[in-house]
């Protein structure tokens, strides 16, 4: 496989991501039940199901299209905090940005960086607030490093997964400062953030798709 994906490959990868997130519903439910209200798994399932349908239905002429379609589907169908936040994660990095027809590490690093800023602004959160941002920020960092080192996409994603995973682990030590974990105080310690877990699952399944389709 090349150092980049073309449009049909990216669509395939994103479909796989949606499917994997949907399959993680029980895990996400359990995590959100521990320090949230238990609906994160349902929400992600709803959003990914809608995105999957759109990815199956549409023809895409740019990579931007693929990601903005995914993001819009989520904003349109999910609701909850994660609808806007995860919708923004897929949408903002490619919406009103230069159009591209291939996906490589640079593009991924740049676009998720843009999304990260949009999320921080929308959600009024910073790293350390025990949200999905804690996973995303480290994933983006790893993508940047990888791009810098001229890594292949698969390698870059492998690093991103590692970053996201580290972010998830870090959320365990944090007090919640937004959303419903906020009022838990000390009781939130030891529990990982649900949204951060979703970020990790997203990067992990991107990487897994590349692993499985690396011919």
């Amino acid at each position: 496989m090349e150092h980049y994906l073309n449009i049909p490959q990216t669509v395939q990868m994103m479909k796989f991501v949606c499917q994997e997130v949907m399959d993680s519903k029980p895990l996400l439910t359990e995590i959100d039940s521990a320090i949230g209200d238990g609906d994160h798994g349902i929400g992600m399932e709803v959003g990914c199901k809608a995105a999957l349908q759109e990815l199956q239905r549409n023809e895409f002429s740019t990579i931007n299209d693929i990601f903005t379609t995914t993001g819009k589907s989520m904003i349109k169908t999910m609701g909850g905090a994660s609808g806007v936040i995860f919708g923004t994660m897929f949408l903002s990095g490619f919406h009103k940005q230069d159009e591209v027809t291939t996906l490589n590490v640079e593009t991924l690093a740049k676009s998720f960086d843009t999304s990260l800023h949009a999320i921080k602004k929308r959600g009024k959160v910073q790293p350390g607030d025990k949200t999905m941002v804690d996973a995303l920020v480290l994933a983006v960092e790893k993508l940047h490093q990888s791009a810098h080192q001229g890594a292949a996409l698969k390698e870059g994603l492998e690093n991103a997964v590692e970053g996201a995973h580290q972010g998830v682990e870090e959320t365990k030590q944090l007090l919640g400062r937004v959303g419903r974990a906020k009022s838990l105080g000390e009781r939130a310690i030891g529990h990982q953030d649900a949204g951060a877990t979703s970020v990790w699952i997203i990067f992990k399944s991107m990487h897994q798709w590349l692993e499985e389709n690396d011919k």
Partner: protein, 329 residues
Amino acid sequence: MKKVINRQEDIIEEMIEGFLCVNEDLYEKLDRGVVLKEKKDKVGILTGGGSGHEPLFLGFVGNGLADGAALGNVFAAPTPYNILEVIESVDSGKGVIQIYGNYAGDVLNFDMAAELAEMEGIECKSILVRDDVASAPLSRYEDRRGIAGDVFVIKLAGAAADEGLSIDEVARISQKAADNTRSIGVALSSATIPGLEKPTFTLAEDEIEFGMGIHGEPGIKRTKMMKADDLTTQMMETLFNDYPYKKGDEVSVLVNGLGSTTQMELLIVNRKVNQMLKEKGITIHHNDVNNYCTSQEMGGLSISLLLLDDELKALYNKPAYSPYYVKNA
């Protein structure tokens, strides 16, 4: 937990359909919302939030109440587009006020909806309900969540809008209603989201959570079950400590059941609430004991006080009608 549903993904749709059957003349269905059929030439009042708290929010769409409600999945804020659809539907050119509880998800979605509405030239103001005194100390008032107090704010906003006031005036009054509303809740047993097998939290057979929120958010303390009068006293004192209610003040009182707590228990609590208010020389203008803002089958209740002044009282007394909330003139 058994729930009488069909497919989980259809519950909101089917609930709305079932609600419309109750009064087809009054309501119209949107994708994930309910609006009054008759469009009134006044500031539009919109409410909404996650489902699962029925009769809130859809049951508080009515005459003299909200003109429409946007409904999310259970415990999840509605999407910006669902909210936008309701905004568009209730706007008669005089702008729209969105009333919702202060939750991260709701803020994100209602804010985005307001942005979309503004792009269409619809003026949109948001009133956030932050009545739950247990959800954050007074020093972090901005962080407080909204619970059963929504009912008071919707009632007064609806009455103010019916008066034909400007959006700024209706917003001012609604904000005053929100600022004047304080609630405290207690949870006795857990709640389960339809379609999930396990409840979101658990409480031991002799345990209660004082101050727990309507999605199972942790409260002030987990403590042993106690007698109704003791529990009520602690709840009322929490309210009294949060605001210097004084002799001669006038309030409306709502004792609200969260789900499986019986009307009998609510009435027993209400008795003590009335006693304590009377002892403090506070006048009870109106007293409601009902399940307005529930949390699935959660056991527990909340007590809400709305502090009235002459302006709010006059509006409180205006008639209102929905199948779940009636105020006669």
